[in-house]
């Protein structure tokens, strides 16, 4: 996925010089019957994966109609009878919903603010390193947190921020009183975003580092002749060179804006920190599984998913109109 920006037709991924692709066959439109007779073996390979998508991806989408119907646990998976927009009205008038909605936006915005630019910065810094082994070492270390289960990350966060943990040792060192960080709403966002930065920034550099190697050396040469300093070269040559990658990743980041770290919040929050930590997805989780209000939760989930889709589509559209880069 991501990064580079060929129009949809399958671009040859290998270096073009290595194996020039034959010109595409002139496409003859065959009828379905002919296609089936000719390629039935190929189609047969697609049957199971297609079933997977239909049952476990598309059926739940249809299952969202329980957001408009009364649902009885153990009853039909499509609910019992129509109730129209009742559940939507319910959460639109629910003050808690707007509280968690705001929290989601704030947490999403903070995550975007830090987790999108920092990999670019780190990649630029790494790109200036000449000692290959040192560069390799920093890269390897910084990728590592990406491979940890979110449960392990959450457990580490709890250890680090506990009363006897490293964070409070620091607090005591500067003469403060220990803070129960995870019990205090005002600390949650800081903790969440820092752990997110810790886990994702290193891994996020990979695509940028790859893109950096594709920036044309001649452009640097030209900039140098024009007397551009290093900084100006970075600004005027390097950054425009990796802009397609940046835009693509930005669109993808925006797409996951609404779904902010559901699992991590679920692991790290507690009733004391709900005022800042509770997000739409965790709220609907509690509505569904603790209050057993499936239809209500499904309505919230559908709302969330639609917003997510709208965000991706509009980000994609805007970037195509303005910078000419898009996902599809």
């Amino acid at each position: 996925m991501t990064s580079t920006l060929r129009p949809p037709p399958p671009a040859a991924p290998r270096a073009a010089a290595e194996s020039p692709r034959p010109a595409p066959h002139p496409r003859r439109r065959r009828s379905w019957r002919q296609a089936l007779r000719r390629d039935w073996q190929l189609y047969s390979l697609a049957v199971l994966p297609l079933l997977f998508f239909l049952i476990f991806r598309y059926l739940p989408m249809i299952g969202n109609i329980i957001a408009f119907r009364r649902f009885k646990p153990g009853g039909s998976i499509f609910g019992e009878y129509w109730v129209g927009l009742r559940y939507f009205r319910m959460f639109f008038t629910d003050p808690t919903f707007w509280e968690v909605f705001t929290n989601t936006l704030v947490l999403g915005a903070l995550t975007l603010l830090f987790c999108f630019p920092l990999p670019i910065v780190l990649a630029l810094l790494l790109n200036e390193v000449r000692a290959r082994r040192f560069k390799r070492f920093v890269q390897s270390v910084s990728y590592l947190p990406h491979f940890l289960s979110i449960v392990i990350v959450a457990a580490m966060v709890m250890q680090l921020t506990s009363i006897d943990g490293a964070a409070n040792q620091l607090v005591r060192m500067v003469g403060g009183d220990p803070v129960a960080f995870l019990q205090q709403p005002q600390w949650f966002r800081t903790i969440y975003v820092s752990s997110e930065v810790w886990q994702t920034v290193g891994w996020g550099t990979i695509l940028y580092l790859a893109a950096l190697t594709t920036v044309d050396e001649d452009l640097y040469e030209a900039a140098r002749i024009d007397g551009a300093s290093r900084l100006r070269q970075t600004w005027h040559v390097t950054l425009p060179g990796i802009r397609p990658t940046m835009v693509t990743l930005l669109i993808l980041n925006i797409g996951s804006f609404m779904a902010v770290g559901f699992e991590k919040v679920l692991l790290l929050y507690n009733p004391l920190t709900y005022p800042t930590a509770d997000v739409v997805s965790t709220y609907l989780f509690r509505m569904g599984f603790q209050s057993s209000n499936f239809s209500y939760a499904a309505a919230i989930g559908l709302f969330e998913a639609v917003i997510g889709l709208v965000l991706v589509l509009s980000a994609n559209l805007i970037s195509r109109r303005t910078v000419g880069t898009s996902l599809w």
């Binding site: 998508f53 995870l182 990979i206 640097y220 499904a298």
Partner: protein, 303 residues
């Protein structure tokens, strides 16, 4: 796009002589990057130190990077917990089964999608792509899995996540990069599609399959939420949920400050469990890291 095939360590020679400012920058840069390494590694070292320390020192807030009052009691306790090992074994079983199924499904579909002349290919791609940006959501998925009778069975954690669209696109990109001549020749020799896939394409795809195995295995190894949602019985849980229950219990104990002994035990217990669950990943990480990087790049080639 030519991301592949270019070395990411092309020597940077941008300018005959470095200016003074740039030399200073390079020193600062090195210091910053060392800082990144330290910040990244600190939590690991801290947890290891805590896991090896005497509880009394931990409670007193005296353990940071070096174990104090070296003590293996917590290790012995966790490792003598039969449920820990049951859950650990579950993780291994789920990971192996899920990875196998995922690889088969992903390979089949990716191979089909890589045939440009196939009628309906665009539709088949679209079916997969759309799910990247819109999903049914938690509740309908739960209702579905439950009504299929998959609750409290391994299938609940295996099947609903069988195909990752990202991995699918990576494999598709790889298959598209294979030269078509071999397959055409094999077809002339009378091999059917299955034969071509098994005897010609797959042997050429060992590297990408290894990468896919790693991608899937790590994600299944690390997953916890499906198991948390669909398993009621403790002996079915993977080790990630074992750890989750441990930390969830610890926070409620801490906030209630109920039982002092429990809290104390919790501190080292958690650290030990973290170490024991992270260990396998750390052990294989140095050897497999580059495959991951390669996989990500391959995925990046085609949006």
């Amino acid at each position: 796009m030519v991301i592949l095939g270019t070395k990411s360590d092309a020597p940077q020679t941008r300018g005959p002589v470095d200016s003074r400012g740039y030399r200073i920058f390079r020193v600062v840069n090195t210091i910053v990057l060392i800082g990144v390494v330290i910040v990244t590694l600190f939590p690991f070292l801290n947890i290891v130190a805590r896991s090896l320390s005497d509880e009394a020192y931990i409670i007193a807030g005296k353990v940071s990077l070096v174990p104090r009052g070296f003590d293996l009691t917590a290790y012995k306790l966790v490792m003598s917990d039969a449920m820990f090992w049951t859950n650990y074994r579950n993780t291994v079983v789920y990971t192996v089964v899920a990875t196998l199924i995922s690889i088969v499904l992903t390979t089949c579909y990716a191979y089909v999608l890589s045939k440009p002349q196939l009628r309906g290919r665009g539709l088949l791609v679209g079916v997969a792509l759309f799910t990247m940006f819109f999903s049914g959501g938690l509740i309908p998925n739960y209702v579905l899995v439950t009504s299929l009778g998959m609750k409290n069975t391994i299938w609940a954690v295996v099947i609903p996540n069988a195909i990752s669209v990202f991995n699918l696109l990576v494999m598709k990109a790889f298959f598209e990069s294979l030269p078509t001549e071999l397959e055409e020749a094999a077809a002339v020799d009378g091999l059917n599609t299955y034969g071509i896939l098994l005897r010609i394409v797959l042997p050429l795809s060992k590297a990408i399959i290894a990468t896919m195995v790693l991608f899937y295995a790590v994600s299944f190894w690390n997953s916890w939420f499906s198991a948390f949602l669909y398993f009621d019985r403790q002996d079915l849980l993977p080790v990630t949920v074992y750890l989750r229950n441990l930390i969830a219990g610890a926070t409620s104990a801490e906030s209630a400050a109920a039982d002092a002994d429990k809290v104390q035990a919790a501190a080292t217990f958690q650290a030990v469990t973290i170490v024991l669950t992270t260990l396998p990943i750390l052990a294989v990480y140095p050897f497999v890291q580059r495959y991951f990087v390669r996989g990500v790049m391959l995925g990046a080639v085609k949006g």
